[in-house]
Amino acid sequence: MSDNNMNEQLSIIIDTANRLFGDSVDKGLLDAAERGEFAQSLWASVVATGFHAVGSKDSGTGVVELFALLDVAGRHAAPLPLAETLLANAWVGLSEGVSSIGLWEGQRITDVPWGRSSTRVIGIRPDSAECVIVEQVEVIERSANLAGEPRDVVRVPEGASRHTIRLNHGNAWSQLALARAVQTAGALSTVLDIALQYAGEREQFGRSLSKFQAIQHSLAVQAAEVAAARRAATGAVDALDTPRAAAEIAAAKIRAGDAATMVGEAAHQVLGAIGYTHEHRLHHFTRRAWAWRDEFGNEFDWQRSLGAMIAGVGADHVWSFVTGR
């Protein structure tokens, strides 16, 4: 496919996803999801649009489209295990149902997003290509992350099938980490939009907040952090099929986490007390960005991983490592 056609297809996916999630994901749906109710009709729309197959074999789409879709999902805080479903479909075969992915710990798979609503759960480990696939899903513990997103524990039955996820570069765990970095970049983009809009509308001391230099500077820093998180994420996606994948994913996850901490704090400060209410939608995005810092490796985990790679090449090769040349 030519570059132009590829770009066109990507634009269509992004536009369609923005419309779909924009129309369906509202405050009510997010509140319901955070009470543990699965967004069945949203999921049906995703399947009807064919989005569940983006990035899977024979779909005509690849990782670029897959992660672009996750960026849009992050912008809307779409309450589905979309990253998990798309990556599972890409790795172990397309399923029409909801798939999820968690940490494989012997007889259990923990931290499974929407395990309770999934028909297939894959257990992976940070340091292994081997995974376990559970198709008779039994949830043995229900829990949720900081954002109220279900994170369940699923039993691994005797004789559950094992599979090796073969990726050219990086591994399954790191691709989930990248998914969280991309989703975070998306969510933070919306956080910034909300803060900018509020600062323009809210008046105090006879002028809009956006006219106060202190607020302008805070928003400028937030914009810089969001731009950095976004560029780190797209850079890592573009490196997925190269030997640079592991390092670039580490950089993206580290950068997204640092941006989430900074932007989450500063955006809430701009919004004041209204942004602290449950009624306001800001927290659906900030809590997700905060929660995703700790999923599939937090900043410290990825800093250590990247740092060990660089220590391994030694002081005189730091620069060639950073440049990849």
Partner: protein, 378 residues
Amino acid sequence: MLELDRVSLPESSEALRVDARAFLQQHRDLIGEPNSDFTTGHSPEFSAALGARGWIGMTWPKSFGGSERTFFDRYVVTEELLAAGAPVSAHWIADRQSGSLLLKFGSEKQKQTYLPAITRGESYFSIGMSEPNTGSDLASVRTAAKKVDGGWVINGSKIWTTDAHRNHFLIALVRTSPAQGENRHVGLSQIIVDLRNDGAQVRPIRNMAGGEDFNEIVFQDVLVPEDRIVGEAGNGWKQVTSELSYERSGPERFLSAFRVLVEFVRLVGPNPLPHEAAVIGRAAGHLMTLRKMSASVAGMLNQGKQVDVEAALVKELGNNYEKLLPEMTRLALSSNRSGRAAWRSAFEQTQLLSPSFTLRGGTREILRGVIARGLGLR
């Protein structure tokens, strides 16, 4: 929202990286103690060698001594020079800024007069913007040039002028006609001063790091020929703001502290403690991101786009990073750890320079204002 283009460096530019490293290896005797801060090492000999290689004024037309290369190529060469800690300060401003300004706004004669010598690494420029009473509020400059028979007479003073004591020329922002009421942007002009022959008095100012690279310049009835005005008289504000965006997005805005990272990696060795590895990883992760952002801006420069807001984003993040990096390494090391000498030397130099990171080339406050304007807030 501000988003940077998803571009990566082309293979042809990456190929140039190999040549740049070979060049640096070949000239390592001129590098001395490496320092990644672009203002620190001064070596006319190194600058001349770089010029002979065609790597000063890389993007300029061949007719003026340039190499007609892309901004991606220039990006690669500049970051290689900084990472290696090469002494680049002599030609840096002329290459990055003054030459580009002359190319864009200068007369044919000015281009022919000044650009080839710059590309040879023989002619060095200073920037004359700040004054004793003019810092961030650049439009308040009071140094004035008055039209007389046969030229312009300059009176006033400039300050914080890096390397004015050893550079050849200064491009000064001066007032050539009064402001029109509230509109202070009219009546400003850029004018070239020959620092060695026009009679401007240069007095060094010692900085807190012990360096004497910046200066105060006093003009007392300094007469310069008519053809020293850059572009149009009165167009100075537009010219000076366009010049500033070249100044803000380059790798010198995030690599100043790079040698501290290198020495930290050397000190902790191949099997660092977890928190030491984390410092390296965090520093590298941010650096890898900043490089992508800066390369995105290089791509925009290639396309002739306005980059003032994007450049401000890179500088804002890059300067914060340059300040954070030494601090992270410091806190990771116990103060009684042995073998710290090389790291400590790099750290101390960088710590002392660090206040300047968020001052030079536009303060943090000015940059945040530029970004805020890009966000539609002002």
